[in-house]
């Protein structure tokens, strides 16, 4: 079952704690079975737990996610002539529907404990369940006798008419979205659900389907393993009592086995320290964030950083890098602190310092920032007339206009002497270098004019000739 997902400012899915981006691909289309859907062109993201689709044109409305646990099986169709590579996902049977239909219990004939009938139970086909209390197999009669006990007509009536609030048990009118008594969201869950049928096809129009499929398989395998691991650790299978009685070759084997197990235990203990350290590291980062000292946080590095490995395809990597850079600026506020403009080499230094590991190359950074404008991100790359690149916030007023506006509003005494690069740097928060460059380019365009003095060049609003 697909759900609506929340997005960050850079139009990527908001990741939960411990969730990491594993792969992403652009220009992907979702098919409902064999038919098209309204999810026509967008990004597909693969994280540890989810598969997310973010629409290109309307990311707010058409962004959905799917829990990996919902995926029953996957199938890969390679690119052939005009048909692009596709991944077909078969989803597990819709749980929400089951919840509504199966709501029955059976009573154990031995201990009279009333057990929930498992959701996937089909009468006559599935294996008989065991009693949770005493572990005895249920008899067919017992299930027949109790499971068919349908909810009473009165209950059906009240269900269809009124919604019972799960928090305060007040029966609300069915058309209400929030509980009348306590304000609990009654329908939020159902509204966020998006149904795309039981099989969904992902069509990769700009390629990259093979890599994505590989990653998907890997992640699915991993998530299965972790589930298996957690179930193992919760029920330890080590039974020492039974071992002591055994003799012969079997006992030798058992002894060797137990050695292994012990060795494992030692290893687990040893690495437990490391894990503890890791969990501490997370706490430390949280602590730093709580203090709001961004410089410290930057020196510690950002939590999830994308690398060439997590992004399939070269272009995808650059797109992701641009998005992450936007998020980085958004969270660290570095760009706004610098007056909304930084030279590319400054950005390179600050950004790589915050990454700490998996540094990006200057070329990668430049390519990524070049793409930012096309991706609709709030930053862009601009070449100053000296050839130096700067990364700046996207503003609707051009820089020279901002300069002229500010300068024409100056006090008369200051307007008479003009402004220097230092004045501009102080006012806009730019570095002296950028201030000088911006003044010169505005001058070159004829918006300002210069007064060359032995001490410094001072700039004035152009009164000699108004530029066309």
């Amino acid at each position: 079952m697909w759900r609506r997902i929340s997005l960050t400012i850079s139009k990527t899915p908001t990741l939960q704690d411990n969730e990491k981006l594993r792969a992403s691909e652009q220009n992907v289309c979702l098919y409902k079975g064999n038919q098209g859907s309204k999810y026509k062109k967008g990004w597909i993201y693969l994280t540890d737990h989810r598969l997310c689709y973010v629409d290109d044109d309307r990311p707010e409305d058409y962004s959905i996610g799917l829990d990996l646990s919902q995926i029953e099986s996957t199938e890969y169709t390679a690119k052939f002539v005009r048909s692009s590579g596709k991944i077909t996902l078969a989803l597990r049977h819709d749980q929400a529907v089951e919840e509504a239909t199966v709501d029955s219990t059976w009573v154990c004939p031995i201990c009279t404990f009333s057990n929930q009938l498992s959701k996937g139970f089909v009468f006559g086909r599935s294996a008989l369940p065991t009693c949770l209390n005493c572990g005895v197999l249920a008899s067919l009669e017992a299930i027949q006798a109790s499971s068919i006990s349908q909810p009473s007509p009165a209950a059906i009536d009240s269900q269809s008419k009124e919604t019972v609030c799960p928090r305060c048990t007040f029966s609300n009118h069915p058309s209400l979205v929030e509980c009348e008594m306590c304000g609990f969201l009654l329908k939020a869950k159902t509204e966020t659900k998006v149904s795309l049928g039981e099989t969904v096809k992902l069509s990769f129009r700009s390629g990259g389907s093979r890599q994505f499929y590989g990653k998907l398989g890997e992640v699915l395998e991993e998530s299965k393993e972790t589930i298996a691991q957690t179930s193992k650790t919760s029920t330890p299978v080590l039974d020492t009592d039974t071992m002591a009685i055994k003799f012969g070759i079997h006992s030798i084997e058992e002894a060797a086995n137990s050695k292994h197990v012990k060795g494992d235990a030692v290893m687990v203990e040893a690495f437990a320290d490391l894990r503890a350290l890791m969990s501490r590291a997370e706490e430390v980062i949280k602590l730093v964030e709580a203090y709001g000292n961004s410089d410290l946080a930057i020196s510690l590095g950002i939590g999830t950083s994308i690398s060439r490995e997590t992004a399939s395809g070269k272009k995808t990597f650059y797109h992701q890098l641009a998005r992450e850079l936007t998020d980085f600026f958004d969270s660290s506020k570095i760009l706004s602190k610098e007056g909304g403009a930084m030279t590319l080499h400054d950005v390179y230094a600050v950004y790589n310092r915050s990454r700490g590991i998996e540094l990006v190359s200057p070329h990668d950074l430049r390519t990524a920032v070049e793409l930012a404008d096309d991706l609709g991100l709030p930053i862009r790359l601009r070449k100053l007339h000296s050839g130096v690149f700067i990364v700046e916030e996207k503003l609707y007023i051009p820089t020279h206009e901002r300069l002229v506006q500010w300068m024409s509003r100056l006090e008369p005494w200051q307007a008479d002497t003009g402004v220097s690069a230092q004045d501009v740097s102080n006012h806009f928060g730019w570095s002296i270098y950028i201030a000088t460059e911006e003044l010169e380019s505005a001058d070159l365009k004829g918006h300002l004019c210069r007064d060359e003095q032995p001490q410094a060049v001072r700039y004035f609003v152009n009164q000699i000739c108004v530029p066309v």
């Binding site: 008479d416 002497t417 003009g418 001058d443 070159l444 365009k445 004829g446 004019c449 210069r450 007064d451 060359e452 001072r458 700039y459 004035f460 152009n462 009164q463 000699i464 000739c465 530029p467 066309v468």
Partner: protein
């Protein structure tokens, strides 16, 4: 200086502007100021050290290379001619052609046809109605006379090989 436009008080006006359009506007503004200045004090030449290029009130002086560029522009425009190349220019408050035709029409209007006048008389302001020729630079005067002689409206009178006067027709 009296009667200068407001732009003369604008400090960047004394620096060559890097924007082409602005620089063009700046040159034509300077040209006007130079012509007005020369007209005001009835001076027909300008050089790099002329006081017009210094505004003591805002402590700005137009640099010499820029002045030369300005002179070049004026020469191209026909409002000036080199007297000493890259040093001094004649400023044509009135062009030599205009002066020549002024002289001819003056001759006809005042009935001086056939009269002989010396160059001294011309430039000393002795002749009423010919104020343009008063204290006219000898260089420009000779240019004017050349035009007049060429048109056949007067003949030259020489003494020791130098033109000292003219006989009007």
């Amino acid at each position: 200086m009296q009667g200068t436009p407001a732009i003369y008080e604008f400090p960047p006006f004394f620096t060559k502007q890097i924007n082409e359009q602005t620089w063009a506007a700046q040159k034509s503004n300077w040209e006007k100021i130079c012509l007005n200045y020369c007209k005001g004090i009835n001076q027909w030449t300008l050089n790099k050290n002329s006081p017009v290029f210094t505004n003591s009130r805002i402590q700005r002086t137009l640099p010499a290379p820029v002045i030369l560029e300005l002179f070049n522009h004026m020469v191209e425009d026909g409002t000036a001619a080199w007297k000493i190349p890259n040093e001094e220019v004649y400023v044509y408050i009135k062009s030599p052609h205009l002066l020549a035709s002024e002289l001819v029409s003056w001759t006809e209007a005042t009935g001086h046809s056939g009269a002989v006048i010396t160059l001294f008389e011309l430039t000393n302001g002795d002749l009423s109605g010919l104020s343009s020729f008063e204290s006219l630079d000898p260089g420009i005067l000779s240019q004017v006379l050349e035009i007049v002689f060429k048109q056949g409206n007067a003949t030259e009178m020489r003494e020791d090989g130098e033109v000292v006067g003219l006989k009007l027709k």
